[in-house]
């Protein structure tokens, strides 16, 4: 009976694994996408909400509401809004100016400058904060050279609100720049030429045409920086915690580290608060960038049209100065720390030592393992997300219509949650063995991989979704008339078109995940240490020099990866590498 039924079932389903998803009546893909969004975005959030409002699975919201309304939480919320808002404005100013100068003027040496800007973003935020801290410390050799050494015991001027805003603005500026470059590429050159024929000067074109056309991207970039600022942990942790200036992520971290698992309900309640604040930012971004016009077929993308003339060397120098401040000085400070034999010793040819590098690179197994782990976790997440993002972009843009906004908000949630919070959600979800399967992924690499996929999915989607929105649907319509399956459509039509955008996504995910700390800080276990974890641990154990050596080595790996890609650029599709503008 069963056998017969089985074979009958097989007969009705010939070899066509995607039949269930086949066009034109295919609901399969949207359902699949919605399910993934729920798994990676909704589930962690719901689990947190349950932990906050129903501890022990009994509805009891009083404690959570009290926590959300507490003085500490209100203060932290204000601090979060303040630092995220101001730093987003700063990032928009710095990143926006840089991207316009590189995108539309004839400034010299664009590629190395763009390369440097993007490289500076790949340095982990806590490393950037640490570097700026040592730069302004009373013993700083660089301040000493300039004759600006403050009295010993002078508080570091970077500690507190101002420092957080400054370092965060610098750190998120490249994020703005990349978003605007993508926007600039979608401006048709004919628009500029038309204006030039009317006799408009470069300034007028920028003010009257370019900025209005780019408005959605500008708003999107600013809100991206704002949301990134809300979720940032490393910078306020290093610059705010020592002076008790707490933002929501650092407050959550404190609650957790002071009360352990007993602090989970409080931390969960505060996490909901962060998600709400960040959710506001995301929704605002979606409203602002809602497309009104139709799609433009671009034959020729924007070319630089602004001849700087005599101002050219000054503008070039200005951009290099920005790089020196953003990348050069902190890196020198780090290098100084890594090369001195002990904290507070003046660096000289006599005192210089490579011992810290030898210690972390040759003598400690854990550091080498961390390099391998970070490479593996970041690489797998990048690969999976790049593939998934193609199907997601297609589904969101073409198949989800009104339902799309909801799915997008759900997907964005884990990116908006501070990493520490996402990690807690993952622990809550995976601590006990999985239902049905009976295995626990806690304390395995898979819990970190799950968290990375959840966290970086929105990042991976940005470029492919934007690219999909620019593409006319006629290829697909033609294919649909030919009756191809969904799988064939994705594989042979959508994937080749979106490949460059998906490669950018994979690249960004890899570079961001490689130095990631806040998610893995709580999820690692013996054998799955990541670079971020090792770095933080070294710093906390008083081994600042060793931490600096790890930070520099990790940055060198990133630099090498970026240089390799740059060498391969000719073989990659156009516009894949964000710094090749």
């Amino acid at each position: 009976m069963t056998l017969a039924a089985g074979s009958a079932w097989q007969e009705t389903r010939p070899r066509q694994p995607w039949r269930g998803l086949s066009l034109p009546a295919g609901f399969g893909l949207p359902v699949l996408v919605a399910a993934c969004a729920l798994l990676f975005g909704g589930l962690p959030f719901l689990r947190l909400a349950a932990a906050a409002f129903a501890p022990g699975w009994q509805f009891a919201p009083e404690a959570a509401l009290a926590e959300i309304g507490s003085r500490a939480a209100v203060n932290a919320t204000l601090h979060t809004l303040e630092t995220a808002g101001l730093s987003a404005l700063g990032a928009l100013l710095i990143g926006g100016t840089a991207s316009l100068l590189l995108g539309i003027t004839d400034v010299r040496g664009k590629r190395p400058i763009a390369f440097g800007l993007i490289f500076s973003m790949m340095i982990a935020p806590q490393v950037a904060a640490l570097a700026f801290l040592s730069l302004f410390a009373p013993h700083s050799p660089i301040l000493g050279l300039l004759g600006l050494s403050p009295e010993p015991g002078t508080p570091n001027p970077l500690l507190g609100r101002g420092g957080i805003v400054l370092v965060m603005a610098l750190h998120h500026a490249p994020l703005v720049a990349i978003t605007l470059w993508t926007g600039l590429r979608s401006v048709p050159q004919s628009l500029i030429e038309a204006a030039q024929m009317e006799g408009a000067g470069a300034g007028t074109i920028v003010a009257r045409i370019l900025l209005p056309v780019l408005r959605p991207q500008i708003v999107a970039a600013a809100l991206l920086a704002f949301v990134a600022g809300i979720g940032n942990f490393g910078i306020p942790a290093l610059l705010g915690l020592p002076v008790n200036y707490l933002t929501l992520p650092t407050l959550i971290y404190r609650r957790l580290s002071s009360f352990g698992p007993a602090g989970l309900p409080d931390a969960a309640a505060l996490s909901i608060l962060v998600a709400l604040v960040a959710g506001l930012g995301i929704t605002a971004g979606m409203l602002a960038t809602r497309r009104t016009g139709g799609k433009v077929e671009i034959e020729r993308p924007l070319q630089p049209f602004w001849q700087l003339g005599r101002a050219r060397p000054f503008v070039t120098a200005g951009l290099w100065l920005l790089l020196a401040i953003k990348l050069g000085l902190p890196f020198l400070a780090l290098l100084g720390e890594a090369l001195t034999p002990a904290l507070g010793v003046a660096l000289s040819w006599q005192s210089l030592t490579f011992d810290k590098f030898a210690e972390v690179l040759l003598r400690q197994d854990v550091t080498m393992r961390a390099f391998r782990n970070s490479f593996l976790f970041a690489g797998s997440a990048a690969l999976i997300l790049a593939l998934v993002s193609i199907a997601f972009a297609y589904a969101l843009e073409r198949r989800m219509s009104k339902f799309r906004r909801v799915v997008e908000v759900v997907i964005e949630l884990p990116y908006a949650l501070p990493g520490v919070v996402l990690a807690i959600a993952c622990i809550l979800m995976f601590l006990k063995p999985l239902p049905l399967l009976g295995v626990s992924i806690y304390a395995t690499p898979f819990i970190i991989l799950f968290a990375y996929i959840a966290r970086f999915l929105p990042l991976a989607l940005k470029a492919p979704v934007a690219a999909m929105a620019q593409i006319e649907a006629h290829h697909e319509e033609a294919a649909r008339l030919d009756g191809v399956t969904l799988w064939q459509m994705l594989r042979f039509i959508v994937a080749p078109i979106l490949a460059p955008a998906a490669t950018v996504s994979a690249l960004m995910v890899f570079l961001v995940a490689f130095n990631e700390l806040t998610v893995s800080a709580l999820l690692w276990s013996s054998g799955t240490e990541t670079l971020g974890v090792v770095l933080f641990s070294l710093k906390e154990a008083g081994l600042a020099g060793e931490a600096a050596a790890v930070a520099i080595s990790a940055s060198a790996v990133i630099l090498l990866a970026m240089l390799t890609l740059d060498l391969l650029a000719k073989r990659l599709p156009q516009n894949v590498l964000p710094w090749r503008i």
Binding site: A72, S134, A137, P138, H139, P152, G153, T154, P155, N156, L241, P242, V243, N244, L246, R254, L256, S257, S258, F259, G260, P261, P341, A342, L343, G344, V345, S351, E359, R363, Q364, D365, V366, I427, L431, K432, P433, S440, Y442, A443, L522, W524, S525, S526, G527, E529, V534, S537, L538, K539, E540, A541, G542, L543, A544, E546
Partner: protein
Amino acid sequence: MRTKASIAFIAAALTLGSLPAVAAEGKLVLYTSQPNTDAQQTIDAFKAKYPKVEISFVRDGTPRVMAKLRAEFEAGAPQADLLLIADAVTMEGLKKEDRLLAHDKAETSAYPAGVHDPAKFWFATKLITTGIVYNTKAALKPTSWLDLTKPEAKNLLAMPSPLNSGAAMIHTITLTGTLPGGWSYYEALKANGALAAGANGDILRQVATGEKLYGMIVDFMPIREKAKGAPVEFVFPSEGVSAVSEPVAILKTTKNPEAAKAFVDFLLSKDGQALALKQGYVAAHPDVALPAGYPDRAAIKLMPFDAAKALADEAASRKRFSAIFE
């Protein structure tokens, strides 16, 4: 035949007698709060003796090691075989919860009574005291805990938070229990602009780089760093210092008790204790000399400390500390 067998037997017995641990093999996971370098050295030294044991470690501040372990208890899958963390109070707590494995055969006769757990659930490995560190550029050379409340130290003192460090937790409980006025001492520090955040490593960085001039800190960090040339000085204040013993214990859930016991034996052995000395710690073994930079063993005055009371009051102390400094 008979002689051959007995020779083999004697040979085996001899081998076992002289190298009791060759039998130990397999995997071990150590959760520890030792700085990475020290943890790696300890493991390397153990591996040199027991090459068949594959041992890896997880390092973090004691509170976070414990948070991780507690989460794993909850999941029913503790990953650690061994625990080597800052303080005995935490160990006592675990012992009460029946999480630890007694190592009855551990050889402790060389140690004075009261150093280790009499029931042999945990064993002290070294003595780490918390005193005062100052930057050599500082005008005031503190000699007493009360000096830190003076105007000269206003806004210039950093201390580790008990929320980040096991040693800092014991230190806070010891100071508030010993100094006249108890918690009002910490309130005075707060009024004097003291900052309490981070772990001992952060305090070392701040004082050595001159961002702050005074700090409360565990002894070995500034003493080691001073030997390398850092502009810091460590003081054992006149009232005495607080102390932790960095105990080691085997978890009941270990899958490899033989190797775990070998690790404990190694730490308690002369060799293990000599390694502690080499790393710059005061070894728990009374016959092992003190590292350079320390006063005489007898000259280090320890403040009294009631472990049972500390265990009972730990959560309250933590809340009280947060209320003052957050």
